[in-house]
Point group: C2
Chain length 600, copies 2
């Protein structure tokens, strides 16, 4: 308890909740860390995919990144439409729930849950990669570092860190500015130095260059992850919310496109090739600035913006699970807010899943990218398709333009989704294509269970409420000792109808204990139940069955010892727990434990 | 439950217990498997210890085994005395408890518990080594084989295998006869062939040859393990019990000495050197018989007798723990017999410890030997010393002879214990020298806890038994639903004094729910407890504290749902369990769960 208070802080009152409103400058920093941070690994993913076809293909990195930037423009415009239409904040789950129906919204919800988990995993592993690029000996401790980062984020979010939101601006703008300078410097050099020649001969090693190019495109699409954040968070902006959010979205998309193309161009010009121990961005910075103070500052900024990106998932995931749980498609516990006004259960579950993925994928970023991209583009497509349906149904002002823009958005993201799913299927996309339907299935199962329960516990007009008149107390005793007397005293308080029971393993014990018993409680006869197979539970269950018809309600009163230290419990048999569990399933039987506390 | 019945069999009635009485021939087989089986590894241990000092020292294996045989004679005679004096079966724990006091008996008990565990581990690993010597590719699966053997023994003992005791004779006599033939054949060859010359030059590589010899002696002393079994099991023999047991003991000691010296001699004559993948015994048999059908029969017999040796610990350990637990020095659960009339908890705990040791020591026999020997000789020494004390105190007929014989036994085994502890300290003896005092400490702690409990729950003359007159029921409800109505109905059955409580996370909820409530239960006012920090438990605990002084007894009645499938429980919050646990520690508060079962 005190450890919990130390880590998480003392409980907050519900009235203490406050919402911060962002200016455009702060909103950009807080809501775009996820999107912007992806430039730290998107170029590298393209290059790695191209490398499979031979060094020669790496020259295609620039056209591919131009295609992806076009995609960024299309998706950003689509989301601009969304935020105008849903200024209250329209996530893919809500938009598709309102427009495309239950099942589609569950698919969107499942993809988003997968996405948030992968946002944490990808960002944390990439952030640690920025760190280990700068300090190589840490490479072998990367899993430990990933775990530490995840735990720090978890604890910070369990405390509720929203109040310090403004602090987040610094690393984001540091990253934007320093990366922009790097690109500028790279461009400046590129006018004076010839393009680097690949060190090995340029040979095309694949017979399927188009396939390789498509796959590289699919890899690069990870740059779009997080682009929806502003559209989902319109209400965080100062009024006029939609206008401020819209402008911020345009800024973000522009920055994202420019930084992404810039890094890709410079990396290509410098002839940089992905290697295991150092990120492409780290190589670019090292080649332009050298490994001086600037290099370390940029690596630190990269690591920080990636951790902030991971942090956005820690805000989004618990919020989304609480919404879905409120709709009864996830366990209800996800709707309750913990001591610090955050959805603690969601935070803990997100951290658990992220840690599992970190362990499974050994702390590497790359193998996680296909999983991430499939999930993100599923959510994009469903969200845009939902908007199209919404425009068509409502036919509000400007609906034709809306259909056109969101239609193009849905179509483009849908096509990209197919490209990613097909070209990256064996590289991990299959995991999401398997997991998402499974999650949807579980959600439906959960919902049907809750409906069933709801149905059975609801009181309807005309229902009669139960009323009992007879109660018999059974007190199984293990000896003529104080615990038994305590239980009997309680039984006498609630009924006159008491059976004291002794389960005799040895038939000779019975008489002896009956005599002892009569000294203390001559008014309550002690019944001896023989147990030829030495079970302490079977004879009692049988006795209950035998008398059940004669009584309305049977109360089993179990005398118990409560030790001061939990491990002392190991020195007592746990029959009362087993008995209680078994009796839970018997109708009209309730169980009471009357404890006697053992003093030190 | 049905899996349990399949593996273990259906419960037996207490009256079905029967004890088999052995003839000398059967008793020898059943009670000597532990002792005799040690010839399968004792020679190898001597040779391995000598090898450290160079091949030259291996010539000392014969004199060392002669010394150990002398030790066998001394210990056997000592135990002969013991069985005459304690025909009811005197284990080291009982003998030292009766004669040397509590603490000494706990040391003996701890050593015996360690011994039994090591009997399982050493015998199983050695048995598997006999198997993998014959079928080399199994060597890499030895841990799996050890685990399988241990599990089979566990299940067999949980079933209670005593009835098939007679079956055990066959492998024991097969082992005795075939090993005797091997030795005979070896001796026959040794008359006609010159002694094998060590393949490498005989160089003394140690500066401390005496130390090496002492260590080899210490290793060989493992041959004595199990020699006490007959003295402990006198009552298993047909009358006259002591006489039959005594004769059997002499037979066993003779067989043990002869087989041990024989194998050592033949191994030395054939120039056999211990190797990792094949046991010395397997090499001896292969060199005398060749690897034909006889070889495989002998390996099988060796494996079987070793498993029978492990099995003796599965009989002894649970019996000993039940005796110690009966004295309140181990958890009381160890005294209760399971469905099949065996001390199931002891069997399971023994298997667990044995498996842990198998994993820690990687399925090898050799590193376990020093641990084993220290434990065994501690028990020997204490048991013999207890006998000396007993003779001196009682001064019965022949007490002077008794003192002399058992004195020599105690002295010899005590000296050997010191030799083993010192020469094998760093090789593992330290583990036992550390574990034994720890076990004794735990035993004393357990005893003091039980005394404390006993003291606090015992009813003494003049004690007044508790009697209550006032009871208030608190029913925390989560809504106007059937579960709440059930709980209220039960509350009305046991008292007129009922508080229905609703914990409001949102102050607006309160009024609404009070109105709904009044429709169904206008006679019971619903109190609203506000929870500014959203805790469902704190307001209730505070309410209980507030009213506690006014009432003698408070009954908290928790409405609960009971799902049909256990995993559905994950979809409900577990606050009732937490609440119940916290309330256990409040005096004069009892908790009842009134369940409503959810139908499929």
């Amino acid at each position: 308890m005190s450890l919990k208070n130390f880590l998480i802080g003392s409980p907050l009152h519900t009235v203490q909740e406050k919402k911060e409103r962002f200016t455009k400058l702060v909103g950009l920093a807080i809501l775009s860390s996820d999107a912007l941070s992806s430039v730290a690994y998107a170029t590298e993913e393209i290059l790695m995919s191209l490398m499979v076809g031979g060094i020669a293909l790496t020259h295609f990195s620039l056209p591919i990144s131009l295609c992806i930037s076009l995609l960024i423009v299309i998706v950003a415009i689509s989301y601009y439409q969304t935020l105008i239409r849903y200024p209250q904040g329209g996530g893919a789950y809500s938009v598709s729930k309102a427009n495309l129906g239950r099942n589609t919204s569950l698919v969107a919800g499942a993809s988003l849950l997968i996405d948030y988990t992968l946002t944490v995993t990808v960002s944390v592993t990439a952030g640690v990669a920025a760190l280990t690029s700068a300090i190589p000996f840490l490479f072998h401790h990367r899993i430990l570092l990933c775990v530490l980062c995840t735990l720090i984020l978890t604890i910070a979010n369990l405390r509720g860190i929203r109040e310090s939101g403004r602090l987040f601006c610094f690393p984001v703008y540091l990253f934007i500015v320093t990366v922009a300078i790097t690109i500028g410097l790279g461009l400046y050099y590129s006018f004076f130095t010839p393009e680097a020649e690949p060190s090995t001969k340029s040979v095309l090693t694949s017979n399927w260059p188009l396939w390789i190019l498509l796959r590289a495109f699919a890899s690069g699409c990870v740059a779009l992850t997080g682009i929806e954040a502003i559209a989902n968070g319109v209400q965080s902006f100062k009024p006029p919310e939609a206008r401020n959010a819209g402008i911020t979205l345009i800024w973000m998309a522009t920055l994202l496109g420019v930084l992404f193309i810039g890094i890709t161009y410079v990396a290509k010009h410098l002839g940089i090739i992905p290697v295991l121990h150092e990120t492409v961005l780290s190589q670019v910075v090292a080649k332009t600035f050298g490994r001086g103070i600037m290099y370390y500052i940029i690596q630190a900024a990269t690591c920080l913006i990636l951790l902030l990106a991971a942090n956005t998932a820690f805000a989004g995931f618990p919020k989304l699970t609480s919404i879905i749980a409120y709709d009864s498609y996830l366990p209800k516990q996800l709707t309750s807010r913990g001591d610090r006004l955050v959805f603690s259960n969601g935070i803990i579950i997100l951290a658990l899943f992220a840690l599992i993925l970190i362990f499974i994928f050994n702390g590497y970023t790359s193998p996680l990218i296909p999983l991430y991209t499939v999930g993100v583009f599923t959510a994009f497509t469903l969200s845009q398709a939902g908007m199209v349906k919404n425009w068509i149904t409502t036919k509000t002002h400007g609906w034709m333009r809306g259909v056109f823009i969101n239609g193009i958005g849905a179509l483009t993201t849908g096509v990209v989704l197919c490209i990613v799913a097909v070209t990256k299927f064996i590289h991990g996309a299959w995991i999401v294509l398997l997991a998402a339907p499974l999650i949807v299935y579980l959600m439906r199962k959960i919902h049907s269970y809750y409906s069933r329960v709801q149905n059975q516990i609801a009181l309807k007009n005309g229902d009669t409420i139960p009323h009992y008149t007879k109660n018999r107390a059974l007190v199984p005793i293990s000896g003529v000792i104080k615990t038994s007397m305590n239980a009997i005293a309680y039984a006498q308080l609630i009924t006159k109808n008491i059976d004291a029971l002794y389960i005799a393993l040895d038939p000779n014990d019975g008489k002896k204990i009956q005599k002892e018993w009569a000294i203390w409680h001559p008014e309550i006869p002690l019944k001896i139940l023989e147990s030829p197979t030495r079970s302490l539970i079977q004879p009692l269950l049988k006795y209950i069955e035998d008398i059940q018809d004669q009584e309305e309600m049977i109360t089993v009163i179990i005398p118990a010892l409560v030790p001061t230290r939990w491990w002392h419990q190991l020195l007592h048999n746990q029959i009362s727990i087993l008995l209680r569990m078994l009796l839970l399933f018997k109708p009209k039987v309730v169980t009471i434990t009357v404890p006697l506390r053992i003093e030190e």
